[in-house]
Symmetry: C2
Subunit: 468 residues, 2 copies
């Protein structure tokens, strides 16, 4: 009983009175059987709302995630859209000095001192802002109700309110937008608002940045398909946070830490509260990275360059892949990515440089006495083929786990540096480590904590693939 | 006018009345011309001290660092030694919960909850402590005045007091010991106090851990040579610290930050205090690493796993190698190491896994139609030869700079991923980055700051190479 069949057969327009409506199938987009659907052209909310968004009336739709490939979707006509806009570098710098009440001229000079270009930052800011306005205008012209938010105002309530989420920025803004969408029903669409500065892998093709109405029309006509980007979920168990972190290298505990330390009841609570596995309220669109954080405290007492004694360590942990035997490891960290994330940090961890390939081939030529024409063309071809093999389809429900800078010495052994898996369990032996989800959310992950990491198709992110 | 010649000709015993003393050469070890040297067998300090340590009377000795090669040193007989001992994991855990006034039994249970073995930690602690006692006994038996310190009590005054520094722990303890020795006169000697758990690359061979008197005798008899480990110095200039760091993703500034932010006079100071290049009071024995730190704030409000929205970013910077043209780059960070450090983090950044070598050779075989017997033996041989080429002599006055996980895309180009250099200048374009020296000391290194990084032979660390 799939919606894809519904899409195919009825084109799922579900417009009241439309021919397709006669088929009266349960349709995720229609939400309500067509005969009872009233026309909806945006407008205010309130009672009696029926609309053409998907899932609002919670049809328990059996969506087949991960592999709808090639199958066109029916039209999609959201009535309410939240636009999440990125914060530009210019805005960041303004906010940074906000309390000092700097004039624009002050800010300009300060940035110049640091070697930053005020004019450059302002230019990028204007380009972004203009492109956001274009999106907002396009939506309002269609009678769509729009909310514009930045990071701070973007929350679960807003996501619930909206029929769809548009991320106006770059890939980072897409990650932010996805971070509040924890199921696979609400579409998230990215628009690259500064194509000259931003890769926009997760965004619509660049042409739609300046002609967003065209993208909207294609959505309405169903000239797109849903791209189900698989995501990673995490279960965490163990003793969780150490409520009394101590930096051994500080001269003294800070007052705050000291008072917590004296609160010994928390220690007792901890001992009776060894938690069972908790499903964390996040889904990784790109990757989960586990490693020691750089602990540092900064000394503000002088304007001189400050320095403090801090720790940067390798990560110790034990790992079990696909319910295999536990293995002790030491490295710079672990990276578990999705197909989407295989183009991101994972790619940078695993890719080889032409320099390395050339050196490997030189040594092999010598060692095996090869008749090998070591020219630049061959080296580049081999390098590119190797690096391409690191990427895979975002819709594939598998993780690629990579050990970053494995440390192999007398004490620790290392096995395969990289491989696909369905499930990975990691037990922390670290002093001050964390799990970082999509470079944006971090969880403490210290000695004794155990994470179970896997892909579940229920968590896929519903995104849009527009035909060119 | 080299001491090495002095060492060769007079065996540099400089014992009062000894035949060698007649040569009355300026000798770094003797410190005082032999005829006026009185016997010194340890004992209390005070006036009229003359002794057999080196450099105490500041003979302006032209020590040729970096390349004393096979040349034996004269005997070395320190009168005062500071022993810097590491803090064991067991001690760390004790201190961590100190304020909660846990009993040993409490601590044991708490560790068990976290999956740590209390007994295991205690065992390593005892092994280390026993080996430290052995060192102390050996020194005192020779009438040497000894001070035992841990990290917190180890300071410049203690270094000035001592004739030599012994690091009792692992490589980390050697780095700690070296961090307070900023010239090339004071010998630093490492003893590995837990050879089963610690690599000890920078320490004496493991056999001396249990027979330290043997090492002392060799020192006295000159049956060793000085190993001059080159180190890296850093100059920093620019606008330095941003006195008002703002975490854009926090709901509000902390009270502390808020009050600093209101202090606008600091902003004005900053503008008038663009600092010229300052030589930082550190010398990197292993490496300088530059990169974005993981900014995170931890929520202590509940015992549940805490998470906060934080940033982990790639590092943006501009780099000029050996006074070459400036180049924009984006990566996970930069690593500049010494010969000593080429075995450390640099090695882990640059080494290839057999898996990668095998894949490269497979692809090359296919692309170039090679007659290549791809067996495990060849792959391992090529892998080992490649990885060995990453190491070089600690006495060579050159840096190896590596770009960690270079990011090459439409926006940023990347050049050579790794190369030797004499001097590297880096200009930060980062939001929240730092320079980390030997994994232990960090400096803020944000947008606008410029670091000049180089090796100067004056900064070499004087260590001991004992013949086996």
């Amino acid at each position: 009983m799939t919606c894809y069949r519904g899409f195919l057969l009825c084109s799922c327009r579900c417009v009241a009175g439309g021919r397709a409506a006669a088929t009266a199938r349960r349709c995720p987009l229609g939400g309500v059987p067509a005969e009872s659907a009233g026309p909806r052209l945006g407008g205010v909310g309130g009672g009696g709302r029926r609309h053409l968004g998907h899932g609002r009336h919670s049809q328990a739709c059996e969506l087949e995630g991960g592999g709808g490939g090639g199958c066109p979707a029916g039209g999609f006509r959201p009535a309410r859209v939240v636009v999440v806009a990125k914060t530009t570098r210019y805005e960041f710098e303004q906010q940074r000095y906000r309390y000092a009440e700097l004039s624009e001229e002050d800010l300009k000079q300060l940035l110049a001192l640091k070697g930053s270009s005020y004019n450059g930052l302002l230019e990028r800011h204007h380009i972004h802002t203009k492109n956001v306005e274009h999106i907002l205008d396009s939506l309002r012209n269609e009678g769509i109700e729009v909310r514009l938010v930045k990071r701070r105002e973007y929350d679960e309530e807003t996501v619930r309110w909206a029929d769809a989420v548009i991320a106006a920025g770059g890939d980072g803004t897409m990650l932010l937008a996805a971070s509040k969408v924890l199921d696979r029903f609400k579409p998230v669409i990215g628009v690259n608002t500064d194509p000259e500065r931003s890769e926009g892998h997760l965004c619509l093709p660049v042409r739609y940045t300046h002609s967003f109405p065209e993208a909207l029309q294609k959505l309405y006509r169903g000239e797109f398909r849903w791209l189900w980007r698989q995501r990673i979920r995490l279960y965490l168990e163990g003793t969780g946070i150490n409520p009394i972190p101590v930096d051994l290298h500080e001269q003294q505990l800070s007052l705050d830490q000291h008072s917590k330390a004296l609160n010994s009841t928390r220690i007792h609570d901890q001992r009776s509260e060894v938690s069972g596995p908790q499903l964390l309220p996040v889904r990784a669109l790109n990757e989960v990275f586990i490693g020691e954080s750089l602990s540092s405290r900064v000394n503000y007492k002088s304007c001189k360059p400050s320095f403090t004694f801090s720790i940067h360590r390798a990560s110790y942990y034990e790992i079990s892949v696909d319910d295999g035997p536990w293995e002790k490891q030491k490295s710079s960290g672990l990276n578990l990515c999705t197909g989407t994330g295989s183009k991101a940090w994972s790619y940078n961890i695993n890719r080889v440089a032409t320099q390395a390939v050339e050196d490997v081939l030189k040594i092999a030529k010598q060692q095996a006495n090869l008749d090998l024409p070591l020219n630049k063309e061959l080296v580049e071809k081999v390098t590119n083929k190797y690096n391409e093999s690191l990427l895979y389809n975002p819709e594939e429900p598998k993780m690629l786990f990579s050990i970053r800078e494995p440390i192999a010495n007398r004490i620790f052994s290392s096995s395969r540096q990289r491989c696909f898996s369905s499930k990975v369990c990691v037990r922390s032996r670290c002093w001050d480590a964390c799990m970082v989800i999509d470079g944006g959310t971090s969880f403490e992950f210290n000695d004794g904590a155990i994470a179970s990491i896997m892909i579940n198709r229920d968590d896929a992110l519903r995104t849009v693939l527009l035909e060119q």
